[in-house]
Symmetry: C2
Subunit: 603 residues, 2 copies
């Protein structure tokens, strides 16, 4: 259907947020020269490369989330997604992780555009933190994603206005040497777009997060025709979502999930409470429709879910009859069997709505005997214990709990192995690079590609910060590396929490800390009076008078011994001694290693 | 086969560790009077109850692990298991959790014995910490469990010698009013024993952790005959393992696992490295036998696994040909295809052997390209991320990874729903009480019992610290509660880390801490010189000079303002002010809430 590959001006279908002059992003671009294969230039080379596209993942490879990829050709740069990720357990206090964009800092004027595939936070969430560093480049994305970007941007009033060009599946835009065509893919949110990127070296496909659903709900089925057509055109490189690469079979269709959810609606007399992610708009639509069908009013609770539902309704992505929605405050006016409550908190998060229902911290709603609670989302690794604790408390309060895993009440938005095989068969790529997923997922995805018949030497597993070169006849890693470490966001601080701060947090979390304050006479080198000891997280001070006294005596001894050596007194040496010797003493006594912080006041 | 219910003296089959005088545990006990149903006496009652058995779970109900149960009748107490559990994520620095035995403190002389069902740490691990508090009561257990108890006890040289009576399936012991008969059950370790406890009110069954395996390896199949016979005798109460109550079907037989493992051995040319729990002795036996069959030498690495293998070999529970085992240091003398390495670390633990192989921290062995690594254990909830990180690093180093979940390379030691139904059908209990498992597992187990036909009012879900009364005609919860909170073990401290210390650790882990040290002139109420600021885990001090200066100025201001009000200066008030106002100031500046610790030195 789209066999001739003629690009139109993106502006034809784009709605510009504000006029821009400085970029040539929307100017049609003449065919660039295709020089014969030459050795790939090094990073230090001043001549822009023209025989290969540089592919630089800044996030999302070897992890789930924080997706961001840079594509570079002859002075032009495009970026796919700017997402955030969630911190690991050994990063206490960190809110989230964003990509390091240092590599792009001196290349802002070469950024032709940011392509945002869909509205999930692991694809859009880092934008507010990075948009200025990137020079506020133009963004190309679908209407719902645009709505979600703008909504989130409202939370950052000091940032410049975004320049968002609205496009849809089938649209084509020219961004310097990159000619981008958007195609529809299925996922757990509407308006997810795969990217077919024609470059001077050949056609690259970026699948975005995707699954092949031939019977989805509320959106078009997988666009097999376009995938087939792309395959016929000749795909040089396929970069495909690896998240489901360790699960055999086809992903479960939304239709199957719908049937399972319907069975619950049919058999439930009391309230139905469904916890899911706030951005699972396809699931939310299903639940709204089922509620209408079974005569239930719908209450949406949770700041982010309310916001997303509002955007989706406004843009026509969420269809509901007039009067379907009601509010938590009105709940008491309806019998239990006439209510569906959609809320956040399926991961057992402390402050989310479901937890507040359980802890009776919600103004209008609490769990009641006879409630049916459905967890309609996968459990993010690391959240298993908090989800279990929440589930237990729901049971204790007399609710019936359905977890998605048991009963097909949720399906992942990611292609499983059979879908991954299928898209490779349709696209017939020469080269293959697994993206989006833990290393083990990418590894298994790469093995799958080999099994499908792509030669091993044409398959490349890259990681964040590696620089991949794609030429017509090869796909290789360059020696060059760009910074791609986690940048940590903690409160208002972006990137200020580094390894030192984090390590200190870990040490204090494990065994607490001890501050010793000694007033030392710089003449005699002796402690005046008794040293002060403050301890937190180490021992319960009130129950440990003996140990506290021993510590005071120890500090006096150490000071007396360490000040004897030289005049003037080497205070750094004295402090080091307190830290080491008191530390050893405490370990012997308790087998704990609190952080020891010696303070000396000279008088 | 054992239809006449005559108890023999336990000492007939027991090996005593040392002579004891003070207890009557092994004296045959005459049939006690069965008084007519009277109101259950309250805890304060001085008359010992004789119309009901008191069942007091101190751990293991509403959690996985930390199993310990107290049974009490007319002045006699017996205890089933003394296990530990692992801390939750919000308990940083804690090594493990043990039961609170305060309830038993003034009842030591009534403890007739401790029955230890099997050798897993969640059933034996707390004993060293509690044995003295319990008055070192006699222990009744099977030979392998005895070996493991004694081995572990060696790590605590200051403790008194244990009195362990060795028994086997089929043996019977009389412990005051309790007449205990041990029967064989299958699990992931040999010598697991279920308990049939005849009491004056009726027969109680405690299944221990169990599964029904009709084709196990290296041990007898499920003892259906004994279960049937017990059912015929009339079971008053069944207390059954709930861990598998949320998984449909039969548990997978060890024979099926064996076949899947064998397929790996058949198809692997390089080294096979299997990570599992150190106490999974049945799995270890399988792997030893397969290695012999396929001409591989076996290396066992990991302190606890080596110890368990040594005990099991010595006691004849692990059978191996001469020359099967070799050492890590000898590994280089064998080709890769001739080696199997069994090790700990399947949970991604930092210091376990597999992690040391990956991090090249092991003296003799490291992961090599071509290695096949099998994770043969379930992932304990909460460990998913560390296991994933380990798996990724194994793939990065060129190993092939098999995870048990994918391929049936492991099976749980716990009965699934179909087995749970089966044991209820065989035992036909009048009353049912789910034990061992999270609340949701116990809840689903209770529903299963109802489905099988046990009347709802005869089913009781109890939690740790609740007191359950079992009479001939009822099973109810008493109002009474006994302390059953987590007792935390941290280094040498047992129970000294409480909520205050833990909360401080959490606060410092989240946002770090700030110590302000001000030398204040008690005459003028002003700070002399500049206050010292020490911060850890909050901001990186070297990069935050401006904020540090602002903090110093803030402290001076707060002190000056707070000392003006009264004479003599109220130092507590000054400190509170620093804590509050500096805390607010820092939150405004950073959106972080470090712990603020004000120190004032009066001069």
């Amino acid at each position: 259907m789209r066999n001739d590959f003629s690009f139109v001006l993106a502006s034809a279908s784009a709605q510009r947020e504000r006029p821009r002059q400085r970029r040539t992003a929307t100017t049609p671009h003449g065919k660039p020269a295709h020089p014969a294969a030459a050795p790939f230039p090094s990073a230090a080379s001043t001549r822009p490369q023209t025989d290969h596209v540089r592919i630089i993942p800044l996030g999302g490879l070897g992890e789930v989330g924080r997706n961001m990829m840079v594509l570079e050709y002859a002075g032009d740069i495009i970026i796919v997604d700017v997402g955030f990720g969630f911190p690991d357990e050994d990063m206490p206090g960190i809110d989230f992780l964003i990509p390091n964009v240092k590599y792009l800092e001196d290349k802002r004027d070469r950024i032709r555009g940011v392509l945002v595939t869909h509205g999930h936070y692991d694809h859009i969430g880092a934008l507010p933190y990075l948009v200025e560093k990137l020079g506020n480049p133009p963004i190309w994305t679908a209407p719902l994603t645009r709505g979600m970007l703008l909504k989130r941007h409202e939370e950052f009033p000091r940032l410049p206005k975004l320049e968002i060009h609205q496009i849809k599946a089938g649209d084509k835009v020219v961004l310097g040497n990159f000619q981008v065509e958007f195609f529809h893919v299925n996922h757990s949110i509407p308006d997810d777009l795969g990217l077919a990127i024609t470059t001077p070296v050949g056609l690259m496909i970026h699948t975005s997060d995707f699954k092949l659903d031939l019977t989805p709900l509320n959106e078009k089925p997988a666009d097999i025709a376009t995938l087939t057509a792309l395959g016929k055109r000749g795909v040089l490189l396929l970069m495909s979502d690896s998240t489901g690469a360790e699960v055999e079979g086809h992903s479960i269709s939304e239709t199957a999930v719908q049937q399972n959810l319907e069975a619950v609606f049919q058999n439930t007399a009391g309230r139905i409470i469904v916890a899911t992610f706030s951005s699972m708009l396809n699931r939310i639509q299903q639940l709204v429709s089922l509620s209408e069908q079974y005569g239930r009013k719908v209450i949406v609770e949770g700041f982010s879910m309310k916001a997303n539902v509002a955007i989706a309704k406004e843009l026509g992505y969420l269809k509901a009859q007039k009067g379907t929605f009601t509010t938590a405050r009105e709940a008491k006016n309806y019998p239990a069997g006439r209510l569906t409550i959609l809320c956040t908190g399926a991961q057992g998060e402390d402050n989310a709505v479901l937890m507040r229902f359980v802890n009776k911290e919600h103004r209008d709603l609490a769990i009641e005997k006879g409630d049916t609670v459905i967890f309609s989302s996968s459990v993010i690794p690391g959240n298993e214990r908090s989800v279990q604790a929440l589930k237990d408390n729901l049971y204790r309060q007399g609710a019936k709990v359905y977890q998605s895993a048991d009963l097909g009440l949720h399906t992942s938005g990611h292609a499983r192995r059979e879908d991954q095989r299928e898209i490779m068969r349709l696209l017939k790529p020469k080269f293959f690079m697994p993206i989006h997923g833990m290393y083990s997922m990418m590894f298994n995805h790469a093995e799958l590609a080999e099994e499908i018949g792509i030669p091993k030497q044409n398959i490349l597993i890259a990681e964040n910060g590696e620089v991949v070169a794609l030429a017509r006849d090869k796909l290789i890693k360059l020696k060059e590396r760009v910074p791609a470490n986690y940048v940590m966001v903690d409160g208002l601080g972006v990137g200020d929490v580094g390894n030192v701060v984090l390590r200190d947090r870990q040490v204090m979390a494990q065994d607490g800390m001890v501050v010793t304050i000694a007033v030392v006479d710089s003449e005699t080198g002796k402690v005046r009076g008794e040293p002060d000891i403050i301890s937190r997280g180490f021992i319960y001070m009130k129950d440990s008078r003996d140990l506290m006294n021993l510590m005071r005596r120890k500090v006096k001894e150490i000071v007396a011994r360490s000040t004897g050596h030289e005049k003037p007194i080497n205070w750094a040496y004295v402090k080091d001694n307190i830290r080491d010797k008191l530390g050893q003493f405490l370990f012997t006594k308790t087998q704990r290693r609190p952080m020891v912080l010696p303070v000396i006041i000279e008088v």
